[in-house]
């Protein structure tokens, strides 16, 4: 058992990271890091992934709440639909987004014709693609947390005269806060790492739609040294966030339901 665990850790987690660190061109590290293209890609990645996370929370929490707290025919179908992007190959997601929101798309053609809005090839296109692939992570986490929450606290709040919104704000959200934070962290990480959907739907243009994963992929074709540097930067950012959020989230194991 322990041997398996150790082997698994080494193969899947330690070796790839060690490989990156070992092959990094430390002499060019500083110059690669301060390269404007790198900074642009990193800044764009962070901005888009944070926006996608915010959008996922704003839209995802209500969806999760409806799935967990209301009963209606076809609920399991709706749940499956909401979680579909999680299992869909990302590039398929990109193609789907194009057929829906591209210039000739189902919805996109009206956006273009009536409002002159083109989402493909724009930064908002990146945010849309990232939200599409990442929101299911938030939904599944919050849905699970809500379903395991003891509803008696919410019922108590309601019988004491609180409106549904107040109950949500003062009772439910604080109770699921650790799960919400964990879900948001997962969502953010997924959004940050997205490649297939963004390159297919939003395209690739430095400063507008070229996020870090795209920059790494293209750098690999010209200069593998700078690709490794970019990868390490992304890795460092991800580890930092995981460390910050993880400490708060994984330390707090107490949920009202387990009382």
């Amino acid at each position: 058992m322990i041997a398996l665990a150790v082997a698994g850790m080494l193969v899947f987690f330690v070796a790839p990271l060690a490989g990156l660190v070992q092959r990094a061109p430390w002499r060019e590290f500083a110059s690669d890091l301060t390269d404007p293209a790198t900074r642009d890609a990193l800044r764009l990645s962070l901005e888009c992934s944070l926006a996608a996370t915010a959008l996922s929370v704003i839209v995802g929490v209500p969806i999760a709440w409806v799935l967990a707290r209301t009963e209606f025919r076809g609920r399991s179908l709706v749940r499956a639909l909401a979680l579909l992007p999680m299992v869909l190959p990302p590039v398929v997601g990109g193609v789907a987004l194009l057929t829906a929101f591209g210039r000739a798309g189902l919805v996109g053609q009206y956006l273009d014709r009536w409002f002159g809005i083109t989402l493909a090839f724009s930064t908002w296109g990146v945010i849309l693609a990232e939200t599409f692939v990442a929101m299911p992570f938030l939904i599944i986490t919050v849905d699970g947390a809500l379903r395991s929450l003891d509803t008696r606290y919410e019922d108590a709040g309601a019988t004491l005269g609180a409106s549904r919104f107040t109950v949500m704000r003062r009772v439910t959200l604080p109770a699921i806060a650790p799960s919400l934070a964990a879900g948001a962290a997962l969502t953010w990480a997924r959004a940050l790492g997205e490649f297939g959907a963004t390159i297919t739907f939003a395209g690739n243009l430095p400063r507008t739609t070229q996020t870090m994963p795209l920059a790494v992929y293209l750098a690999l074709q010209e200069d593998s040294g700078s690709a490794i540097v970019l990868s390490l930067v992304l890795l460092a950012v991800s580890i930092t966030v995981l460390a910050v959020v993880g400490r708060r989230v994984f330390a707090n194991r107490a949920l009202p339901a387990s009382a």
């Binding site: 058992m1 398996l4 665990a5 082997a7 698994g8 193969v11 899947f12 194009l98 057929t99 591209g102 210039r103 000739a104 083109t118 493909a120 090839f121 390159i199 297919t200 939003a202 395209g203 690739n204 243009l205 739609t209 992929y217 293209l218 690999l220 074709q221 010209e222 593998s224």
Partner: protein, 274 residues
């Protein structure tokens, strides 16, 4: 609250994933035949060739190489030609990192030279075709693009290949030599992705190869670029040093560079003579 049940499920999961990973490694090993009879002279139709090779080819060769592979396999029963199409620069990176390729067909000399300088090719590469660039537009040319200069028109959504891919380098070269400044909306990772943006209606125009417009079979229209404004793409092919089936690899190279194949490439697919 941890139970022994949870930890054994976890161990089982790790075991499953490890097993899957190892079996995937095993199945990707090439089923190369190493019978001594394959070392007989390659290139002659009566030579007993067998086994399989993996050909890494530039994306622009997709339809043509699939066709040539079928012809080759029919002429040499018992052989398999596996094709892997991608941007030439991606393929070079993969080969340099140990990808099991037997033959490499590039969309430009530069990428082939990267392998040559590392000693990864067996002999001097042979140029088997040339290509020209063309402007791909939506069917019926709704935006009335007629010249390269039109690509700079305000409001026109133009996409090009990424600068790291050969078609991107050729496009940049063409625009520079014709003194046209274009702000593309996207630089796609290979020529097929670039063309698809026009096919899907998300882009108005793209700079792709003549052969790609032809392969699109009417889904896009092509605006020809006069030769004096165009750039010529050179396509070399070479067998790789680390091939596990040297005879078959060389036979494929000989087949592609034969006059019959070159005729096919030119007449059916729109390539230029080497």
């Amino acid at each position: 609250m941890r139970t022994s049940g949870t930890s054994s499920i976890g161990a089982a999961a790790v075991a499953c994933v490890l097993a899957l990973g190892l079996s995937a490694c095993g199945s990707s090993a090439k089923p190369a035949a190493t019978s001594p009879s394959t070392t007989s002279a390659a290139g002659s139709g009566s030579a007993r060739l067998s086994g399989s090779i993996t050909v890494f080819a530039a994306a622009s060769l997709t339809s043509s190489f699939k066709d040539l592979a079928k012809q080759f396999e029919a002429a040499h029963p018992g052989t398999t030609v596996k094709l892997d199409f991608d941007s030439s620069s991606v393929l070079v990176t993969q080969i340099e990192n140990g990808a099991p390729a037997d033959v490499f067909a590039s969309a430009d000399r530069k990428n082939m030279q990267k392998l040559q300088s590392k000693g990864d090719v067996t002999a001097t590469p042979t140029v088997f075709a040339k290509n020209l660039l063309e402007i791909a537009v939506a069917a019926k040319n709704p935006k009335h693009v007629t010249t390269v200069a039109d690509l700079a028109k305000a409001g026109l959504i133009v996409v090009l290949c990424a600068a790291e891919a050969p078609c991107g380098k050729y496009a940049d070269q063409l625009l520079k030599q014709d003194k046209v400044t274009v702000s593309p909306k996207s630089r796609e990772i290979d020529v097929k992705a670039t063309l698809s943006k026009v096919e899907l209606g998300d882009a108005d125009a793209a700079l792709v190869y003549v052969t790609d417009v032809k392969a699109a079979n009417g889904k896009v229209d092509g605006i020809q670029i006069p030769t004096d404004q165009n750039v010529v793409a050179t396509l070399p092919i070479a067998a790789l040093k680390d091939t596990k089936n040297a005879a078959l690899a060389q036979a494929w190279v000989d087949f592609v560079t034969s006059s019959a194949s070159e005729q096919t490439l030119q007449q059916q697919y729109g390539f230029l003579a080497p």
